[in-house]
């Protein structure tokens, strides 16, 4: 958790049930998109921040949060905020593990990320066989947040979650 985040304890289990519609193994809490969740006069006020400006999942995430909270007996109000801007640093260690298990390589740090995307160094590990003999196919993958890689050993393609800082 980062300093700016402010989430009431009793809401955490509810919010953990909501997942990213494009990466279903990742809860929005592990993703770090929920910035505040506070209860005021029996109403939950939530602030979420998009991963990418054009992320089409944000509307769905907002609806899913409202539904989860209403199932738990809360009324809620959702606000989309832009500052501070989301970074891949906010993905929790549990979230990173979930990504890897799902077959998406977790983001590296910005310097390694650049080296990997410029193909200077082979450092992105294949999520299937673990080989580092991998090659960037495209900087833009199936969603805005991912790049597409291919493994030179097992020959399988896989996604890499791009570092965003």
């Amino acid at each position: 958790m980062t300093i700016e985040q402010q989430i009431e304890k009793e809401l955490i289990p509810i919010l953990e049930q909501v997942s990213d519609p494009e990466i279903p193994v990742l809860s929005i809490m592990d993703m770090g998109v929920v910035r505040t969740a506070i209860i005021e006069n029996n109403k939950v006020k939530i602030q979420i921040t998009p991963t990418y400006s054009g992320c089409p999942a944000m509307d769905v995430i907002g609806d899913d949060i409202q539904k989860a909270l209403s199932d738990a007996g809360y009324q809620s109000e959702i606000e989309l905020i832009l500052a501070p801007a989301w970074t891949t640093d906010w993905i929790t260690p549990k979230g990173r593990k979930a990504l890897e298990d799902y077959g998406i390589a977790a983001p590296l740090d910005p310097i390694s990320d650049k080296a990997a995307l410029l193909e200077d160094q082979k450092i992105v590990k294949c999520t299937i066989c673990g080989s580092q003999n991998t090659k960037l196919v495209s900087q833009f993958g199936s969603t805005a947040c991912k790049a597409l890689f291919k493994c030179g050993d097992c020959q399988e393609p896989f996604d890499y979650f791009k570092c965003l800082k």
């Binding site: 998009p50 990418y52 400006s53 054009g54 992320c55 089409p56 832009l82 500052a83 501070p84 801007a85 989301w86 995307l117 410029l118 196919v137 495209s138 900087q139 833009f140 993958g141 199936s142 969603t143 805005a144 597409l148 791009k162 965003l164 800082k165």
Partner: protein, 250 residues
């Protein structure tokens, strides 16, 4: 002040809308699957940024304006995007040359806008620049690959750069709204990074074994709403649904 701020926001946002639309045209038509996906990803980023700007512009304007009205219901002369971004895709070299010439500018602009006294604009800039640095890397790579590629790819990308160069001077023209917003500490003084822009572009072109064109005559007008013939066709596509089914939502 309000009127100037509104126009200032559009001056930045319209570029993202129109370029996003141009790139979106490649959806399902890209030269290869990876490029198709990359171009539409960039398009999506630009549309996302446009939405943030237009939501803010609608708030500034008041009078019940919405982001959709601003995007879909203006007339051609009311769009203040750069002539560069409305130029058609024509071929892949032209698409990448247009993207590269805009991305370098976009990145430098956002770098300054991050420091704006207007907190909403600064927040949008801080968010967008992370995405734009990926766009810039993508288009720069392609300039180098095409320029330093085969004889044919070299020739095509040089032709595209030559053809679009005439639109680069306009990037740095300042409107009344620009001047008013610079005075308020909100807007970016474009002349500040003009030299840096041309240096950066020249450095990449050199690396790509390409020549900087010696164009002497430059086109202008987009920022005043006077566009090339291409914008009208683009808008008729973009606005089709709202014009045919007014007030539709989805």
């Amino acid at each position: 002040m309000k009127e100037h701020l509104y126009k200032y926001i559009l001056g930045i946002a319209d570029n993202s809308l129109i370029l996003g639309q141009r790139l979106g045209e490649l959806c399902g038509h890209g030269p290869s699957l990876e490029i198709d996906i990359a171009c539409t990803n960039i398009s999506l980023d630009l549309f996302g940024q446009t939405r943030s700007y237009y939501q803010y512009a609608a708030k500034v304007k008041g009078e019940g304006a919405t982001e959709d009205d601003i995007a879909f219901l203006r007339r051609e002369r009311e769009y203040v995007n750069l002539l560069l971004v409305e130029q058609p895709n024509k071929n892949f070299a032209q698409t990448m040359a247009r993207q590269f010439l805009f991305d370098v500018y976009h990145f430098l602009l956002l770098q300054e806008l991050e420091k704006s006294r207007d907190l909403t604009l600064a927040a949008i800039a801080k968010k967008s620049i992370k995405e734009v640095s990926y766009h810039l890397r993508f288009s720069s790579d392609w300039i180098k690959r095409l320029g330093d590629g085969t004889e044919v790819s070299h020739q095509k990308i040089q032709e595209a750069i030559d053809a679009l160069w005439t639109y680069t001077d306009e990037l740095f023209h300042q409107t009344e709204a620009d001047k008013a917003m610079i005075a308020e500490g909100i807007g970016v003084d474009l002349t500040q990074f003009k030299d840096e822009y041309f240096e950066k572009v020249a450095a990449t072109l050199e690396e790509a074994t390409l020549k900087v064109p010696d164009t002497k005559w430059f086109q202008k007008g987009g920022k005043q709403g006077i566009h090339t013939e291409h914008l009208g066709y683009l808008l008729s596509d973009l606005q089709y649904m709202q014009r045919t089914y007014p007030n539709m939502e989805w």
